[in-house]
Amino acid sequence: MPSPADRSPPILLRVAVLFLLLSTASAWKKDEFRNCDQSPFCKRARGRKPHSIPSLSAADVSLSDGAVSARLLPSQPLRQNTAGDDPEADRDPSRILLLRLSVYQGGVLRLQIDEDPSAPRRRFQVPDVLLPDLDDHRLWLPRLSSPAAGSSSSFYLADGFEAVLIHDPFEIQVRRKGSAEPVLSLNSLGLFDFEQLMVKKNDGEDWEERFRGHTDTRPHGPQSISFDVSFHGADFVYGIPEHASSSLALRPTSGPDVEHSEPYRLFNLDVFEYLADSPFGLYGSIPFMLSHGARSSSGFFWLNAAEMQIDVLAPGWDDSASPAKGRIDTLWMSEAGVVDAFFFVGPDPKDVLRQYIGITGTPAMPQEFAVAYHQCRWNYRDEEDVAAVDAAFDEHDIPYDVLWLDIEHTDGKRYFTWDRVLFPNPKEMQGKLAAKGRHMVTIVDPHIKRDDSFYIYKEASEKGYYVKDAMGKDFDGWCWPGSSSYPDVLNPEIREWWAEKFSFQSYVGSTPSLYIWNDMNEPSVFNGPEITMPRDAIHYGDVEHREVHNAYGYYFHMATSNGLLKRGNGMDRPFVLSRAFFAGSQRYGTVWTGDNSANWDQLRASVPMILTLGLTGLSFSGADVGGFFGNPEPELLVRWYQLGAYYPFFRAHAHQDTKRREPWLFGEHNTALIREAVHVRYSLLPYYYTLFREASVSGIPVMRPLWLEFPADKETYNTGEAFMVGPSLLVQGIYEKRQKSVSVYLPMGQSWYNMRNGAAYTGGISHKLEVSEDSIPSFQKAGTIVPRKDRFRRSSTQMVNDPYTLVIALNGSLAAEGELYVDDGKSYDFEQGAYIHRRFIFADCKLTSIDVRPAKIGGKFSSDCVIERIILLGLPSGAKKAVIEPGNREADVELGPLTLRGGSSLVAVTVRKPNVRIADDWTLRIL
């Protein structure tokens, strides 16, 4: 019998291939993505032993321009144990690297290493990520101390910290003053390697790389960089998103007792049905790692947008007899770029965050509506569907603020257009939502349909605004619309052009209540290598895609966000959700964890993922509630709403093949549970908005790992199931079906109040709690005051004038503190001081409201809102009334419930209708 292939025409063979691939489409495709062994730079660097390659030494160390400069030369004599290891061994030894060390305010050391300017080609340095005024914060180094024999040079870094450059082999250390033990060090293990650019010597030289039928021409040859960084005194390291994991701390990827693992990969990719636990790279990359231990915290950031692979090495990975204790070694490998790295000295974890935010920028202050609940689906089909979903929220008394439209709303996936049949009257549709205080978001992706009748395509095409392929033609890749080109957003001029497209004149059918979603901006290219753009595609300034890949989505996000800013004449805060991200994305908007799946593991993984994003600057982030792929069982959906209600970004989303899952579709009981979960978020909106304000000033995220708030409590260091919302609330997710009880560790130092029934719990121990279906466990820390609004409306917009409730959880000395931040919720007037910022202090049975705005600030914002209810947890009974000053007014005190839901019991002393204005100074005494 002949083989089937012999009999079949070629088309049928393809059919078979297609069928085979399609039939297995429901699994993550490991083979489609390169692993470390398939990337020569990674394989080579990963295979090295400490001190096994020729070392470099620092020469001509000197101060210039207030910074340290030196040249890196091969150490003398060359070590001889390197035969065969390195193809670059035969490099011109006269070529040197230039090193520069500079210091910035607040405990930041910057290390830059690049080739001599005489190199054949300039290596890419990522622009527009570091804050433009960063240099204003650089410290002018007055002197260098060089101890005996000139073997090292040290200089001031921050109070209590110094930086040391050890000359031969060169090594950078950050130390506490007077201590020989470093906090951070680079090249302590001698793994530093820098492949310098070469010019092709002969035609026979083959630098091409092939992967699954794709060829990378690599015209400039190998150019990778790798080095080791050690975190001393660290128990755990965190950060370097984006990876899906059930663990908040980064698990070791190499060394004894580590099962075969890939390094953590930072390479922005559109991964179909990603796994809940894998070191493979997802949609975004932030090469920023934090360490934390009982003694201190520190951080390291490498500004580099090329593919990066990072190993976290388990103690003993180098086969040394006595593995270093309390030190975590890491190996950083990048395919291209330069060394532009930052060391953050801490010592408190919040200091590390502030130091990182100090160079990459604070998170943008979102509009108030964006902090509320978002309803999304691929796709709300037409205007009728939109109207019906909108009406059903009202019918079921579930608030929501934003309705989202995915790709199908467009005319053939041409963004900025509308399907005429399905969405004939987009403005009217948005108007109807806006009349209820609601907003709409439409999707705008970077792939531009190659269609001359599409004005965006035509314009960009004529202007030469697309990324070019290796041959110099407009790159042509396949995405939703079919054959597509991609705007070269690395170019500021093209970003400006792109931003203009969001003007109301240009984006026909858009209204001021419409905001934007950037998806697929890794960029996703369906027929590209690893579903993305070929590395040898060419960007502005002859930059190869390999050099800028991880930042493409960032620039796109930036351009879109600036577009919305322009659209509103700089008066309206943009809202742009992006899937791809890079260091600095926090300045431009929101991100989410991409196409997750409707299963319990992914519900669990969402918390470490969002916490990691928060630690690396992206405070405003969330995961698709319900899970994008697949159909969540009602219990999972309810649990996801209960957890998602605490995500900084709270959006439900679903794949187009999934069953409808709007909150009211699973029976009266589940509807009530979801309504309750959404209500929890809406009642906490004043608290959340205050936290967003804090994040926009300090970079401290809204959703925080426990150890960020309790850095001394070792029990919290690797908690990825529970998290803090701000400084006051602790939330524990429920991640298992029909879970009956859960063990929750409540950090030490304070007691905790259950947020539903007011029950008090001791801190510092694990409590086994019964779990009901009504809610997930949540606690308010004693000593805090949380502002709420307990009246529910259709959307947050209608809550503006509603009165507040203050929940005061008293600590052992019957004291508590909390804050409330209020502004107009949409404009930038707050930058001029147009906001209310109060601190509430309760002590000695007296509650005081204090204005915490800087004294000299101008700007005007006021509110007639009052506080209608004050709930005191932990106050001994016996209170009779409250007296309010000024005015010597009295208010009733009685026993009341903690929340206004049916069946609540009367558990807390409640001040009835104090009706003090939030804008005013006042005191309230409990008598």
Partner: protein, 635 residues
């Protein structure tokens, strides 16, 4: 009223005053309270309805939530679980959520939900009420007319049901008689054949003897030709059979369909008998093969046969199968050998392929061959699992072998039978036309005539005549064939009637006429066809997708469910939920796919115009006219 003028409520109270001036607004004590509830709030100390607490009259509507269930704040937004009543004089009173009170949006047509002055809501109750009343009046009129039509329908159904039952019992008795006749004819035929056989043997024996003698005479010359003669003698006969069949196909559009219909009892005329026999053998071998469902095994065997015959006309139908079993199985075999590689694909194919993971759509959209083959593969499995009557339902050619397309064709022919020009039509035309010559009209002489004929035939045949009279033998055979096919037709009709009568047609059998009907609606590029008690499909051009097979009525005959339709790739089986509502015509008015592959439709029909509902509607209208509150709750 004075009590509320505390500092806390200055603003709202000022507004209350403003509103009281502009419209008649209830006082604080009655704000948001339904009239029938007013008495509950009479006393000085009032209980929360959930029993959790008590509150004073002072605390009623004082903008502070005392009862978690909202009892104390019917007129404010203070309690999240509260309900607000707006009288809406001139229209219907409305009970809405407390969250709507003073939220800046006018919810009650009388504006009573917005009294804090942030927005001013004009009283639109009279206009809105007028519109609503007119609408309601129209609805009542529809119901009243509908009830009449429904009564007629029910009456018709009653008759039709009785008729069907009568027919069934009649057919049963005919079946019995016919069976006997056929048995007799069979015996007769066998006897004739036996006689013929004996004659033949004798003749052969004689010929043999003659030949033997001849051979002996011419021994050296003619010997070798003999054996091949027999074969060539028979071959032309077989070929002519096939030609006969071809001719039928050429001249008769529905020849292929007729073949298929052998199972459902098509009238078989004399000149089609050969084809029918042919089908019989196919059917047998089909059933022997693997006992699969009729449709698929038929196509399968049909194909084999045609391949053997090497006949162009017929094999055309075969090659039109996009993915015949042979090809498909070869694909399946290939799968083992093709590695998980995309390298053989063009860049566009790769792009489509990857996109298809998210869309779960056909990766090779625009490439029909690939498309159909893929669908074919997919459906192949379905067929094995489900008793599916289409071989590959997404390709048009094979629809020739599907019942519902037969109906389509015949639909066109028998257009005059359409009862509903608005897209409803009979789904069982073939039944009616096929049996027009049978006893449906109750012609009592028919059986007598048959019996007479048979007796004549039987008596006419003289067994003692030798040789057997050839024309008489042929007559017996023909009669046997005719009557056994009549019998099978009757049997098939019986089983169809049995099938039909076992369904639940509603409590008044008001859906009886639906059995023979389909309803159609065109939406953009799709035509949706809903055939109650049978199936529903979505047709786009030449391709048809099964949305579901009849499942049942649901929600006390207000919903028709169709389930187990074609499988969505990587998704659920398609299904359709048809919501029924009162209307004067049977009309499919709306169809939608809210979730992928889960369809919903609305069918208006007089069957849902129930008399008892009219009273309810009239009461509602009366309430609206008098402005009296009713217990109606818009929530």
């Amino acid at each position: 009223m004075g009590a509320c003028l505390r500092i806390s409520l200055t603003i709202s109270c000022l507004l209350l005053i403003w509103i009281s001036a502009s419209a008649s607004i209830p006082s604080r004590e009655s704000l948001g309270i339904a009239p029938q509830d007013l008495s509950y709030y009479k006393s000085d100390v009032i209980k929360c309805k959930d029993g959790s607490k008590k509150f004073t009259k002072e605390q009623l509507n004082d903008e502070f939530c005392d009862c978690p269930d909202g009892t104390d704040e019917p007129g404010t937004s203070a309690c999240p679980q509260g309900k607000f009543y707006c009288p809406n004089v001139g229209h219907i009173p409305l009970t809405t959520f407390s969250s709507r009170v003073n939220d800046g949006i006018c919810d009650c047509c009388d504006g009573s939900d917005e009294y804090n002055g942030n927005v001013s809501c004009p009283n639109t109750c009279w206009e809105a009420g007028k519109v609503a009343r007119e609408k309601l009046q129209k609805k009542i009129a529809t119901f009243q007319n509908g009830v009449t039509i429904r009564k007629q329908e029910v009456e018709k159904a009653k008759q039709a049901f009785a008729k069907d039952e009568a027919e069934l019992s009649k057919l049963r008795s005919e079946e019995k008689i016919l069976k006997e006749l056929v048995q007799k004819l069979k015996e007769q035929k066998e006897r004739i054949e036996k006689a013929e056989e004996e004659e033949r043997k004798k003749r052969e024996e004689e010929e043999r003897r003659l030949k033997e003698a001849e051979r002996k005479a011419n021994e050296s010359k003619n010997a070798p030709e003999e054996s091949s003669h027999d074969i060539t003698d028979q071959a032309p006969e077989k070929l002519s059979e096939l030609h006969n069949q071809d001719a039928m196909e050429d001249h008769h559009d529905s020849a292929v369909e007729d073949k298929n219909d052998y199972t459902t009892g098509t009238e078989i005329s004399d000149n089609q008998q050969v084809a029918n026999d042919h089908d019989d053998t196919i059917a047998k071998s089909g059933h022997e093969a693997d006992g699969r469902s009729d449709g698929s095994s038929f196509s399968h065997v049909e194909k084999q046969h045609v391949v053997e015959a090497q006949d162009n006309a017929v094999s055309k139908a075969n090659t039109d199968y996009p993915g015949t079993e042979e090809e498909l199985s070869s694909h399946v075999a290939e799968q083992g050998q093709v590695s998980d590689s995309t390298e053989g694909l063009s860049r566009e194919e790769l792009g489509r392929l990857v996109a298809s993971r998210w869309t779960r759509e056909n990766a090779a959209e625009g490439n029909d061959e690939v498309n159909m083959a893929k669908e074919g593969l997919e459906h192949d499995e379905d067929i094995r699992e489900e008793n599916h009557d289409g071989y590959i339902s997404d390709s048009d050619e094979d629809h020739k072998f599907e019942d519902d397309d037969l109906e389509d064709d015949q639909d066109a022919e028998f257009g005059e039978d359409h009862e509903e020009p608005t897209g409803a039509y009979s789904s069982d035309e073939d039944d009616k036309t096929d049996y027009s010559d049978l006893t449906v009209s109750g012609s009592s002489s028919w059986l007598d005539k048959i019996q007479q004929t048979v007796n004549n035939v039987l008596q006419a045949f003289n067994f003692f005549r030798r040789p057997v009279n050839i024309s008489e033998a042929a007559t017996v055979r023909k009669e046997y064939d005719d009557f056994s096919s009549e019998l099978s037709k009757i049997q098939s009709r019986i089983s169809r009637l049995n099938e039909k009568l076992k369904y639940d047609f509603g409590k008044d059998r008001e859906f009886y006429s639906f059995y023979d009907r389909c309803f159609e609606s065109k939406q953009n590029k799709y035509t949706y066809k809903v055939c109650p008690f049978k199936k529903a499909s979505q047709v786009e051009g030449h391709s048809s997708t099964q949305l579901g097979h009849w499942d049942k009525f649901d929600e006390s005959y207000r919903v028709m469910l169709f389930s187990n339709g074609d499988r969505c790739w990587n998704g659920p089986d398609r299904s359709l939920k048809v919501r029924l509502r009162c209307g004067l015509k049977n009309e499919l008015v709306d169809i939608d796919e809210p979730s992928r592959c889960e369809y919903v439709a609305i069918l208006s029909t007089p069957a849902l115009c129930l008399e008892e509902k009219i009273k309810e509607l009239q009461q509602k209208l009366e309430d609206m006219n008098t402005g009296q509150p009713s217990a109606h709750d818009e929530l």
